[in-house]
Symmetry: C2
Subunit: 415 residues, 2 copies
């Protein structure tokens, strides 16, 4: 690389997104980039000329290791939807004038579906206007719903956290006896794709029976059937533990969390903010069956739990970041780096690039045949797929008993 690189993070944070940032930085510097800028709060910040020079923040090898272990987006994130250039050419002119001013050779954006939409639009505009900046997408989402890549960085660490937490919850749920039994409903993220909810199956092993039922958003949720299954299980077991996706819907298309009274919000991409599915179902089951129930939302913890990151995930996230910088340096644009799986056992993977036009705004769901016929569990194929992605640990760097992160840039939170 001969000129400068700019990198941004977008969408929901993960435990691995900063490992990709570290990978972009290291490879860009190694390949000769003069400066590596970081957009503050993604393209939304860039539009306001908010960015920083990463070399002022990543000064040592230890800083790189800390950054790999730091959850959420070190640079801040955004949910900005770039208008098409037919709608608003001014925004494009503004972005490209800033890129020119900063002498940007490569623009790398780490994010999910919505971020790949941004890469697609910017690279198309560059082609149309003959602009030389290269635009590369770097996959990131705990939801694992991007197409063409075997899986997405961030998913493995979230799956490891979810499998571990589910196992601890199941243990906890057997402690106290209740006259009519205990039903624990655990709500997991994943609006339309059940990868994370399905990963609760990782709790299953010689030492744990795993969740009793798993409800993915890919399958229509039948609340009467749900009740009958729990009723049956309560005849056999003192404690029943159920995993539900936040995005399960009834046959009429309504989200289960909408059946209660809680107000749900809509974000800039028109996505409903889902929450309260477990709480609603816990109330429903308590009222119908008269048993003790509890609702647990894994909430933000499942995407920010870097203290329990998967080694495979953190290493692949780093590789993917490096591969993005390499692709841009080799002249690619309008591409996303993908992960390819060569073998399940022993697990082997590598990176490649794919045209972002084939990825953006498309969601990869759990295949129907990886879900049991009755729609209440995942199959062995699902387990074989997820299992390699949670292997190995990244030991936190502990200072005074608590994991150390790379400090937060003050620009992120001080007004």
């Amino acid at each position: 690389m001969k000129r400068n690189v700019i990198v941004g993070q977008s969408g929901g944070p993960t435990a691995a997104i900063n490992s990709s940032l570290a990978g972009v930085y290291r490879t860009a510097i190694d390949r000769g980039a003069k400066k590596v800028y970081g957009m503050l709060h993604g393209i939304q910040g860039l539009l306001n000329e908010k960015y920083l020079d990463l070399s002022e923040h990543i000064k040592t090898e230890l800083d790189v290791e800390l950054l790999k272990r730091t959850p959420a987006a070190f640079l801040g994130s955004c949910r900005y939807k770039l208008p098409s250039f037919h709608e608003d050419i001014g925004t494009y002119e503004r972005i490209f004038s800033i890129l020119d001013k900063l002498d940007i050779e490569a623009f790398i954006y780490i994010g999910g579906n919505d971020s790949m939409d941004t890469i697609k639009k910017l690279s198309d505009y560059a082609v149309l206007t003959g602009h030389t900046t290269k635009f590369i997408g770097c996959p990131k989402t705990i939801d694992n719903d991007l197409t063409l890549t075997d899986h997405t960085p961030g998913f493995g660490s979230a799956a490891k956290y979810i499998g571990t937490s589910m196992k601890e919850i199941i243990r906890d749920s057997f402690c106290l006896e209740y006259p009519r039994g205990l039903v624990t409903i655990v709500e997991v993220m994943g609006r339309n794709a059940g990868w994370l909810t399905g990963s609760t199956v990782l709790s299953k092993g010689e030492d744990c029976e795993g969740p009793d039922l798993i409800y993915l958003p890919e399958i229509t949720f039948d609340i009467q059937n749900f009740k009958e299954r729990i009723e049956k299980l309560l005849k056999e077991k003192t404690s029943v533990v159920v995993a539900v996706s936040e995005g399960i819907r009834t046959a009429d298309g309504r989200y289960v969390c909408e059946l209660g009274n809680d107000i749900n919000f809509v974000d800039a991409f028109g996505h409903k903010q889902l929450s309260g599915t477990a709480a609603y179902l816990a109330k429903f089951i308590a009222a119908e069956l008269g048993c003790k129930t509890r609702a647990i939302e894994l909430s933000t913890l499942q995407r920010a739990g870097s203290h329990l990151a998967s080694r495979i995930d953190i290493l692949e996230a780093f590789q993917v970041g490096g591969a993005a910088a390499k692709a841009a340096d080799e002249g690619d644009s309008g591409q996303m780096v993908v992960l390819q799986r060569f073998s399940d056992d022993p697990y082997q993977s590598g990176t490649a690039v794919r045209d972002v036009h084939k990825i953006a705004n498309d969601e990869k769901c759990v295949p129907r045949n990886w879900i049991t016929k009755d729609g209440t569990y995942v199959t062995q194929e699902f387990i074989t797929y997820v299992d390699p992605l949670v292997q190995g640990d990244v030991a936190p760097i502990m200072v005074s008993g608590i994991p150390r992160h790379l400090y937060t840039p003050k620009e992120l939170y001080r007004k």
Copy 2:
């Protein structure tokens, strides 16, 4: 020891309660106990003659290590309130006839305040009736609210989990920008004692500002003042993170979680089941200030998070279990093992025994001068006290990427 030992677990589970069980088992066997029985679901199970022979479950040194790393109560727990023998002598006669049948020399009960009440009553009855079984209590509670002991096993691991999770939540909260800012309210366990909520301060360090406000149940909660403080913070910061105890109350004595509409339950000891404090405050702040808010309940995860246990805590829990078996063997009864702190830095501690009559049904709260004058944070004294208790890690024994526990006895969950 010449005869048999029986051990039970009671009250809310923790990440360290099984390490105490392992300690009781090891020391009892080392000191010559013939059999070590485990009550299933504490004294409630014992009354139904539900128990197991621990040597059939702890067969190897590796099993001991797995048990130390297994969260929640391996034997199951209960919230059974033993009536006084004036009220119900039949229950006492039943318990002592079972103890005689099993040839029990020592009865060790691992639990919190309510469990020490059980030890007190049983040892009193034994004295009155000339029964030779020794009754020893072993402290356990994440709440850290037992008197006479410097701290309780279980607290350190919960504090480490809470400090770490709070740090990850704070990181996550800076990622996305909202026009009027984001307020995150994190609800922590601890009905009357703020030890756990105060431990969110452990997130503070060179790399993290820590929570902005900490509300303990020891201080009357003023919702207007709370709103004004957040309003002021939102002028300086894009994201405000607040830790609240589930047990905070307003000046009229009502729990904040009761201000909403959610129904709260009462357990066998007359304790209200608290939940929904953060959810209520998040809705209140969103309505009053028009900012984005979110509520996070650390829920069961904070007491079951053995994958992030404190080494000091797990080792002390093991010691306390051993000290209980030793005390009984040396002829003590009606005593609870306590932890004594000799030095903060370097941290040094040891065990002793104290008369359980001076402990039962008394709660140790955070001293007023360990809370700031304005009641919205903890002081350096609090940090100096908690800090040593979260030091060191107990690496989980990972199998296929997920922590391995000692398997659950089938009697616990199969009907």
